[in-house]
């Protein structure tokens, strides 16, 4: 049917009952030189992503911490700048005979702002790098996929994968312990 016409297809997904089966299948795909493979699990499973991680995936993975650091740095700078400017430049005023630049008293606010901006950095990193929110995604077309967030384990090979050939690939997947193999349309 035209639904299978090339370019209309996102990839082929396979559903597994246990994480072990998924791992086994993953290894076979790796050996078969597949690279554009995605895994969908109800809880973080170590190592899966690492196997097929491409260049830009690595970048996106490593970018998390720097973004958070930048956030924190900006926060600290804001805190110090604001307080010094207010007390020394904009409105210097004798308060309780304390020095205008009572820097020890400025530490708490600087610290809090550091944390605040850093965690903003964290959220930003998390959302941007994961391209979230992303309400529409072809993988949701996979039948039974709602269980990927509950108790089933999915993988999906994209058609973009150089090795992709929907006959062979499908056969390869059916050879695994997959309980269900199907095309995932765009």
């Amino acid at each position: 049917m035209e639904r299978y016409r090339r370019g209309e297809l996102y990839g082929i997904a396979a559903e597994f009952e246990t994480v072990e089966d998924l791992r086994a299948a993953a290894i076979r795909l790796f050996d078969a030189r597949y690279r554009k493979v995605h895994f969908y699990t109800p809880y973080p499973v170590k190592g899966l992503a690492g196997m097929f991680r491409g260049m830009n995936d690595w970048v996106r993975y490593l970018l998390v911490s720097p973004l958070i650091f930048i956030g924190g740095f900006v926060g600290a700078a804001t805190g110090i700048a604001m307080q010094e400017y207010a007390n020394l430049i904009d409105f210097p005023i004798n308060i309780g005979g304390r020095p205008l630049n009572s820097w020890p008293a400025f530490i708490p606010i600087t610290f809090e702002l550091t944390i605040l901006f850093a965690s903003f950095g964290g959220v930003l990193a998390f959302l941007v790098l994961n391209r979230l929110p992303q309400f529409y995604h072809p993988i949701f077309n996979a039948r039974d996929f709602e269980r990927a967030t509950q108790d089933r384990y999915f993988l999906c090979i994209e058609v973009e994968d150089p090795k992709f050939d929907w006959q062979k690939t499908r056969a390869l997947l059916e050879a695994t312990k997959a309980v269900l193999v199907e095309e995932v349309p765009w």
Binding site: D57, I68, F91, I115, L116, S119, F120, L132, Q134
Partner: protein, 445 residues
């Protein structure tokens, strides 16, 4: 290892998912929940009534006066903030310490944090003489060319508490995204499905996402840890920076933080014990969870007790007339009863936790946790009020007596807290499913 299991042996991915999401998705939450909501909401109405009258007439409706210019409002503030500490501690510090047992309880502990901080944040606002001018505390380009006075601990408070609230919410929400996805996928077709769908940000459990998710979560935990310590230190500065005998003390920051965690865990237990009974979560919130909380209470409790001891010791050792008199007046003066309640609850009762049965048996533990909550609130009261009632010049000594309106605000805030909690229980995954699934599979961070 001989430790009691963190999770029931029979639990599977499916069973966890089913139990937890059922709580949020079921049609009818049961008469108990409904009754609870109605009751607590009536308390919320009481709070609003109290606040309305407060704004119309002024803080004079409370018992505050000169010299005791701070009363219940600040007491509540410090107490609520303290309560708020356990949540972040569980989710952040214990995460960093690879304490797996945190996994099943951190969600509602974090919720507790957020609601507690909300109640706390409300208090300083209400206690202002001119609450409608609260924005003078913000640094913004105003028409007066003025700035907040950055040397004032109250300004530090403002920054600390708002930061704490924001970070807690972020932390809580990010941790909840996968579970919201679960709810999205389990919810029957209808509005709720879309709501969960939007809240889940389109999470699909992609392994790549999981990796970055865990990394972010870990770093956030790293940030939240110093934050949680800083917040109550800053709150303690409100007192430590002032020069009143009984306030001006360098031990306050650690002693406040410990007290905060102490009361925080008390509140966690006060909530967890009925929760697991009512919602049948014994398999997820096991005796070992209770015991660990109990142990933490004992530890922090002992630190607090040390704080008390230290105050008296230093008063005697420093041989400062005012300090000595203050300690004496605290123990035997007009507010002796409050002081001895503190000693009874925070020093006496805590020691029961040395005995294992007390740590694992729900009922005694529940009672102890209640007593500790009472004790900690009273401690805040003693710190705020007794120091003020007798300071330097005998001529200006005076007494504070709460009025009905003081109680209305306090009880109202309790109502607000529990009401928000009931709402949370109904709509959100109260146990982090993804994390508990990890436990099933024995995955470790």
């Amino acid at each position: 290892m001989s430790e009691a299991p963190l999770i029931g042996p029979s639990e599977t991915d499916a069973s966890i998912t089913a139990t937890v999401s059922h709580l949020a998705l079921r049609k009818h939450a049961g008469i108990g929940w409904f009754a609870g909501v109605v009751f607590t909401f009536s308390l919320v109405l009481l709070l609003f009534y109290g606040i309305a009258y407060l704004f119309i007439r002024g803080v004079g409706i409370w018992g505050v006066n000169i010299p005791v210019a701070w009363g219940f409002a600040i007491t509540n503030f410090v107490w609520w903030i303290g309560i708020g500490h356990a949540g972040t501690l569980i989710s952040a510090i214990l995460l960093l310490l690879h304490q797996k047992w945190r996994n099943s309880i951190n969600r509602f502990a974090e919720a507790m944090t957020i609601f507690a901080v909300m109640c706390a944040g409300m208090m300083p606002l209400l206690h202002l003489g001119r609450p409608w001018m609260f924005y003078y505390i913000f640094p913004y380009p105003d028409t007066m060319n003025m700035w907040p006075q950055f040397r004032s601990p109250l300004v530090w408070d403002f920054f600390a508490v708002s930061t704490y609230l924001t970070v807690s919410i972020i932390f809580w929400y990010i941790g909840m995204i996968p579970d919201l996805a679960t709810l999205r996928d389990r919810a029957p077709k209808g509005i709720s499905k879309y709501v969960y769908g939007v809240m889940a940000f389109g999470w699909r459990g992609d392994a790549e996402h999981w990796e970055r998710y865990e990394k972010t979560y870990l770093v956030l935990a790293g940030l939240a840890t110093p934050l949680v310590v800083s917040v109550h230190s800053v709150v303690s500065f409100d007192f430590a920076v002032a020069q009143l005998p009984g306030w001006h003390s360098t031990i306050f920051p650690p002693y406040f933080v410990a007290g905060a965690i102490f009361s925080g865990f008390a509140m966690v237990l006060t909530i967890a014990i009925p929760l697991r009974a009512v919602f049948g979560l014994q398999a997820l919130v096991t005796e070992r969870h209770l015991e660990n909380c109990a142990k933490l209470m004992l530890t922090t409790g002992l630190i607090v007790d040390y704080g008390y001891l230290n105050e008296f010791f230093l008063a005697w050792y420093g041989n400062n007339l005012y300090e000595k008199f203050h300690e004496f007046a605290t123990a035997t003066g007009a507010y002796w009863f409050a002081f001895w309640i503190v000693i009874l609850c925070n020093v006496g009762v805590t020691q029961l936790l040395w005995f294992k049965p007390m740590r694992i048996k729900p009922l005694p533990l529940f009672i102890i946790s209640i007593l500790v909550n009472v004790g900690m609130w009273t401690e805040r009261f003693v710190i705020v009020v007794t120091s003020l009632s007798k300071d330097w010049l005998p001529s200006s000594w005076g007494m504070f007596f709460p009025t009905v309106w003081d109680w209305v605000i306090f009880i109202g805030s309790l109502g607000l807290f529990t009401f928000l909690y009931f709402v949370f229980l109904r709509l959100f995954p109260i146990v982090p499913m993804a994390e508990t699934r990890k436990l099933v599979h024995g995955e470790s961070e």
